[in-house]
Structure formats: C-alpha cells, structure tokens
Amino acid sequence: MTNNSINQTDSAPLLEVKNLGVSFFTPRGTVRAVRDASLTVRRGEVVGLVGESGCGKSTVAFSIMGYLPGIVQVDGEILYDGKDLVGMDESELEALRGNRIAMVYQDPQTSLNPTMKIGPQMREVLKTHLDLGKQEIRSRAIELFESVGLASPDTIGERYPHELSGGMQQRVVIALALACEPDLLIMDEPTTGLDVTTEATILDLIVDLKDRVNAGILFVSHNLGVIARVADRVTVMYASQTVEDADVRNIFNSPQHPYTAGLLSCVPKPANELGITPRLKSIPGSVFEARLEAGNECLFAPRCPIAHDQCTQNAPEISDADGHQVRCFFPDEVTSDIWGELKPRRDFESEDDAVVIEANDLNVRYRSRQGKKYILFGDEAQPPVRAVVDASFKVTKSRTLGIVGESGSGKSTTARALIGLTQKSSGSMLLNGDELETDSANRSDDQRADLRMVFQNPTASLNPKLPIKHAITRSLKLFGNFDNQGAYDEARALLEAVGLNPDYIERIPSELSGGEQQRVALASAFAANPKAILADEAVSALDVSVQAQVLNLLLRNQQENETSFVFISHDLGVVRYVSDDIMVMYAGHVAEQGPADAVLSSPSHPYTEALLSAAPEPDPDATPSIIRLDGAVPTMRERFTGCFFADRCHRKIDQRCDEIEPPAQSVNSSNHIIRCHIPIDQLVSQS
C-alpha cells in the first residue's frame, strides 16, 4: 500500500482553489484568515494541506463547503467541476453539500447530534439527496456502516452517538460523508484527538477508501506523520498563505521552502544509524498574525535563516518548477542544514545515580460516583476504578523517565498521585529517600519546592485574571525566602532564562501566545530550583515548532540544574526524544518498563509493539506496520481477573490471558521488565 498506487488521476482538476482570500470582520478588527491560498485536487488523489494552528488551513476547507459564519469577505475562486463556489447561492450549495462534496470533521463527538440516533442521522442524508425508497435507504445505510468497518452494521443505527467510542463515532462521520458517493471529500483533522492506536485504524480506512472510491480527497492536518501516511501531494500553509506545493516525497525529502524544512526538523525522529538522537531544531520567533495587515514583504522573512534584503522589500509569489511550487525567492538555498547542524540530543551523561523519585507498588483507585446523584439515593456505586495498579519506578538524578500511554492509561493519574493532587490508595512514594505524604497539603514546603509540576494546557495553568508574574513570584516567596523586590527581580531573570522578554512580567496570560504561556509555566516550575519536575503532556497542546523550543528548554534546565524529570505524553516520538527510561502504561497497568532503547526495541510487550506500529512517522516511504488494535482502552474496575491487555491483544495465547495476572518478566535479568504471559524469547518482533 504505497502512496503512488493510484495513477488514474484525471488531468482535469476536480477542485481548483485560486488565490483564495478570506477575511472575517469581527468587533475586534479584521482577521485575514486566508491571505492567498491556491491548491488543486484531482480525482483519485489525496492532497494533504498542512500547517500549524492559525495558518488558515481549516478556513480553506470550510470555504470550499461554502460555510463561513459571521461577516466575511471571500476573494479569489474556488472552482469545482468548472463552477465557482464563491458567491454561489444557498440552494445550489445545499444540492452539492453532503452530495457531491462532503466533509469529515475534527472531534466526531461534537459533530453528531447527541439527541438523535445514528440511523436517522444517516438516513436523512440519503433521503435528501437520493431518490430512494424507504427500504433501499435502510439497506444503503447498513451497507455504508459496513463499508467503514463498523461492527454490527445492521444494529448500530439504533444507537446514540454517546454510546460509541471516539473511533466508532469518526467511522460514522466518515460513513455519513460517503453516503452519496461524493466526488470530493474534505477531511479536517479527522484523527486529531483520537488515541494513537485508533488513529492508525482510521488512517488505514482512509488509505483504503482512496482505492475504493473514485473521489478526490483534501486532507487537512497539522501532523506531518499523518500527512506522510495518507497524502499523494502536499500543500504547506504558513501565515494564511500557501507556501509550498509538491509531491509528498519532494516535500519530505527535498523541501524548497525554508519553513517546510524547519517544520520537518522540529519533529522528533528515531535515533539515526549511529544511534544518536539528533537535537531538535526550532524555528525562532512567532507566526505573522492573521490580525496584521501584510506589507510588501515575505511573511516568513523575520524567522527565516536565509532571508535576504529582497525578502523584506518584495512579497514573493508562487513559482513553479516541474510541478514543485514554492513561495520563496531563493528556493535553491534551502538545504537540510539551514536550521543548524546536526547535534546530539544532549551533550552530557549523568554519572550520579542517586535516586530522586521512587514509587513502590503505587496504587490509585477511584470510587466512581457515576449515576449516584444524591447521598441517600441513586444507583449502587460501581466497583472502584483501578486507575493505577502496582506501579514501581525510580528516577535518578538528572535523568528523565518517560511515561507513555493512551488516554485512560493511568499515566496522568500516576503524576497526580506523585505530586499529591490525587490520593493514592496504597504503596509508597519517596523524594530523595524521604516518604511523601499522600496529600500535597500535608507535605513540607521543602518537598513542595523540590517536586514541581508542569501541566498540559498552558492557557489553563495560568490564572487568566492575574499578571504572569503572579505564579512565579508566589513560588519564589513561598519556597525561596524571597522578599517582594527579590522575587520580582528573580521572576524577570527566570522569564529571560526561558527566552521571554522580562518586560512581559506585568502582562496577563491572554496577551501571550500558547508557546509563551507554556514558557511562563516552565519559569514558574523552575523557580527555586526544584530537584524534580513532573511534566504532564507539557508540550501536547503546542505546535511542532513551539514544541521543539519547549523540549529544548526542558533539556537545558536538566543539564544546568541536574533536574530529574518525569515526562508524560501520549506522543511516542516526543517521549522517545526526551527519555532515558520509558514506562509504557495501559489501563492503569505498567505493561513494560526499562531503559529507553531497550523498551523501544525488540523484545517488547505486544502493546508496546502495537503502539510503536501505530505512531505515524513523518516519512512517506516508511512501511506502515500492520499491527492494529480494535476497540478502545477499557476502564479497569475492581474484581477484574486476567491480563489487563487480553481484550485487545493481537498475540493472546490461551486461557491464561483471561484468568491469570501476567508475570513481570525481566529481559536478561536487566531492569527491562515486560508484563506478559508470552515467554521473553517469543516476544521478539514479528515483523
């Protein structure tokens, strides 16, 4: 299943977007959501539209559907089948939407009507656009549910959206889009927000669809790995403009726009042939905002390493060389090292193996109150949820433990128990050899100062009503014996250390970008030099270029202050990049743990294997691995027997998996541990 399997692409384009401009007029001023975007989709081809958040890629997608709410001005042309969709009246659009042009959205959970069964939601599309009898509609609906791989297609129509998992919901949304066999399918971040194993199965479905349906697909995503997996051609957007457009291999192997090259070098990649993980490069500065009016200049020039005088005096147009289009005056100067030369991830190795954080048989159980609304009445409470089961691990000085797993794996609960925000049920936690109290409120100031946490959502981790200095100076005063003046000065120094202008200190969080906010959160965590930091999905909400900046800041802090990290993420690539040790969690259980290299290579736990093969690599030539998991991560309750992974395991052996808890097997008597019934020597990779 390679990207070039389809060669029956028509010469006449199905969709042509020409110099599209979209401006929203809001009470706070004009937003140029799209300045100048051009792209082409042909029948039978998947065009990937890629860019960071706010670059206008979704606006392009919704412009094609003619769905732009608010006061809006659209310039340029959107030619579908030769007809211009811009300015087309509502009744003509209604006839096209859902019929000839259909869309799949991000966040399937909110895209389906919560008060309506799946069946009627499907049937109303068929009824509106096709001239079919009642019985035909019914059977067509079942056919469609079957074609997107939904289990029990004949009964699924009787269910409500909330009864389905996220992956199933997205399959329903895709089935809705396919209902009338559209010519053009627009997919806007269809796998964003799904777990990585679910994402892999949806991507498989999309790749499979490409061969089955005779449609053109515009696939919008911020994720380069996903784009590499599905796209034939790629269009790159930056600051509301399309900046590069080429065959997927050309984009990934020989990008001609410095931004594309930079974006690619921001993505964490596996170690190279020499076993060295290259340090991430990052793009300095921030995106040219959509609120600003562009002058006669290249919008990327302020961040560009190869900018010339010409770039700030003239605005480059798209130029075409052998079908590789690029908006740059100097595409020939773009090489792999314009963003800096290859350096190893970090240039130190810790010798000190003093244990900083230790957890022994850590357990967290939630007494769920679901359905029990009142004190005296309501349903019987269900058995407690086993959020974390018997987790034991150590983090030594200036090393990083990465915890990876999907949502519901218990990785965040582990961190919250460590920090004292969630109550552990049993087990012990030690910091520098001293017992940690269960509740953060009962710990000493020193312990609180030594163990800090960085949260996922930078917007939520700073109080929106207080200046950004607040969190930093409070930490300094409480932990560092600083007086007002001292804390103020130190806070400025900390801001500078994380690469922020110290004059930002009086600003409120909404005046900062997401990346800047996360730097503030880091500054506040670094205050008073903690011994260890827990980072819970600390870069997950950030764009790749910003993510790289933050990851490098973390590594620098580790190097300078010998800090230990527990780094939690669902993104295997990021965990692989930062971690010395890795712990893979599934449904509250530790499936596998040990040194990073050992965990990521054979032999591995079947779940680790599935996780590794699900993670999309930003390389169009990567052979997609075939191990796929059905279903979703279950919620583990008390009185559960057998192996935690048995339900979804592709290598389940026999009755033992359902009845007996898997043993912790040590690989070659090292600290690499795998919890599985299958003997170690049979756990070597099958592929």
Partner: protein, 315 residues
C-alpha cells in the same frame, strides 16, 4: 425509570418536609406567637392567656408541629381562624379558580414563547429579532401589578371593553364568565412568555453554533430540517429547566394578579390570611404552593429525561 421516579418522589417528600418545617418555624417558633399576632397591638395579658390556652399554644412547639403534620397527612389542614371553617373547605374552590388562571396562562404562553423564541433565534441580529428581544425584556421587567394596571387603563377605563375587576360569585365557576379571565391571563402570560421566549432564543442561537448543526448544514439538509430536527430539540433541554423554574415564579405572580383583579383564588386568600393573621390558612396555602412547585419540577425532570437520551439510558 421506576427507580428514577422513586428517587424523585422521595426527594419531593424531603423537600416538603423541610418546607413544612420552615413554614411552621416562620409562623410559630419566631418570638411572639399566633395569639399575639391575632390580638395585635390591642392585646391585654388576660385575653392573650385565654387565647393561648384555647389554641393549645402553651404546649411545646415540636408537639404542635407533629400534630399539624399528622393533620396535614390526613388531609386536615386545620380550621381558619377568621371564618372558623375547615381550611380545605374554603380553599377547594379557590384552588380551582387559581388553576384555571395558571393553567390557561401556561398553555398560552409556553408554546407561543417557544415558537417566537425559535423564530427570533434563527434570525439573530435582524430587526425582527431586536424588536422581539426588546419587547420580551420589557415584559419580564414590568411587575405584574404594572402590567395589569396598564391593561386596565387601556381596556377598561379607556375602551371600556373589559371589566376592571374579575369578581366571581361564590359557588360559580370563573369559566361561566370567561371575559373576566382575559386580563388576568394576559398579565400572567406576559412575564412567562418573556422568560421562556428569551431562554428559547438564547438556546437556539447556541445550538445553531454547535458542530452537529454545522454537520447538518454541510450534509446539505434543507434549512427547516436543520432547525427543527437538529437545533430545536437540543435547545429545548435547558429551556425546560426555565419553564419549571417559572412555574414557581408564576405562583408568586398569581398572588399579585389575583390581588390586582380581585380574582378569588389562592393568592387572594393568602393576602386576606396575611392581613387578618389567619395562620392555619397561611400554612395551608404555603404548603400547597410549595407542593405545586415541587411537582412541576418533577414533571420538568421527566420531560428532560424524555428528551435527553443520555439520562434516559442511564436511568
């Protein structure tokens, strides 16, 4: 479902128990007692003593409370101090009259408010929407006695079309002369209409901005179908809560409206009871109003559960 009902009914029971305690507390346990209240400022110590004994007020409060509650449970709400007849006898026809008023107002205002709310919500920002919004804001801002007064000035004093007071002969039904009901119903309708319409409008606007409505639009469904099958059912969920809360509000409004139009319902009885310090009467009416409110809340919850598949499945 049965379980859900059971839970809700026991909750109503608890609420009413709390309310009954509060009513009893306000009227009995507060410093001073019924006897003082009846005799007012013109009391003499001797008369006070006699009346207290007569009413059994010399016994502890909790005993009297238990007696009262047991009476209530057996349908005995005591005797009116003023009319010296059983309270239930007096209130029977009064309750009927009030129900005629309240139910008619409810049946007129709620459906029309929902229709107008949807109509305005779909046209958000248009002149029609602004007009309806302003009218409804004024409707909820005017106290019932002002609305009623304005109606009287227009339709009674000026045009002379309608009688300015809505007297009902004892023993007859207000429905015998429906013309007297027009202004009281119109007054009650105004406020209720305003609230329900505003809430419907806000919820429709919110629903129209959801992703599932966007999905419906991008499926190419005709506009009416997007609105009535996707936006409105979801918008009705929070609206129901407003309607149920408004029933409580309406019961308060009833007191004023009946007083404005001298309409012989529960509200007027309450005012009379207050003015004459007829405490058994007061307690009975208060309890009745609280019970009505609790039951209407239950009905709203049932409607909510019926519309919301999430609750329906889980209960």
């Amino acid at each position: 479902m049965l379980r859900f009902l059971l839970v809700r009914f026991s909750l109503i029971f608890i609420t009413l128990a709390v309310v009954s305690l509060a009513i009893f507390g306000v009227t009995e346990v507060l410093p001073g007692d019924v006897a003082e209240a009846i005799l007012g400022k013109s009391r003499t110590p001797g008369a006070l003593e006699t009346l207290r004994e007569q009413m059994g007020l010399d016994r502890p409060a909790w005993q009297r409370y238990v007696e009262w509650i047991f009476g209530v449970l057996q349908g005995d709400l005591g005797n009116s101090l003023v009319q010296d007849r059983p309270v239930t006898e007096i209130l029977g026809s009064r309750l009927q009259n009030s129900l005629v008023l309240a139910v008619t107002a409810f049946l007129i205002s709620v459906p029309s408010a929902i229709l107008v709310g949807v109509w305005a919500g779909v046209r958000q920002g248009s002149n029609a929407d602004h007009t309806v919004s302003v009218i409804s804001l004024v409707a909820i801002s005017l106290p019932e006695f002002v609305t009623g007064f304005i109606l009287i000035v227009i339709f009674s004093s000026t045009l002379g079309w309608l009688p300015s007071s809505s007297l009902v002969m004892p023993g007859t039904s207000p429905l015998a002369r429906p013309v007297i009901l027009i202004m009281p119903i119109a007054t009650m309708t105004a406020v209720l209409f305003g609230y329900v319409m505003r809430m419907t409008r806000a919820n429709v606007i919110e629903a129209l901005n959801t992703n599932y409505v966007r999905t419906a639009i991008l499926k190419g469904l005709p506009r009416w179908q997007v609105i009535w099958r996707h936006a409105v059912p979801n918008a009705m969920l929070p609206t129901i809560a407003v309607i149920s809360i408004n029933v409580g509000w309406m019961l308060g409004g009833l007191i004023i409206v009946e007083s404005v139009f001298a309409y012989p319902g529960l509200g007027l009885s309450l005012i009379n009871a207050v003015n004459r310090r007829d405490l058994p009467m007061l307690q009975a009416i208060s309890l009745l109003i609280a019970a009505t409110y609790a039951i209407s809340n239950l009905l709203a919850d049932l409607a909510y559960a019926w519309l919301n598949p999430r609750i329906r499945i889980s209960s």
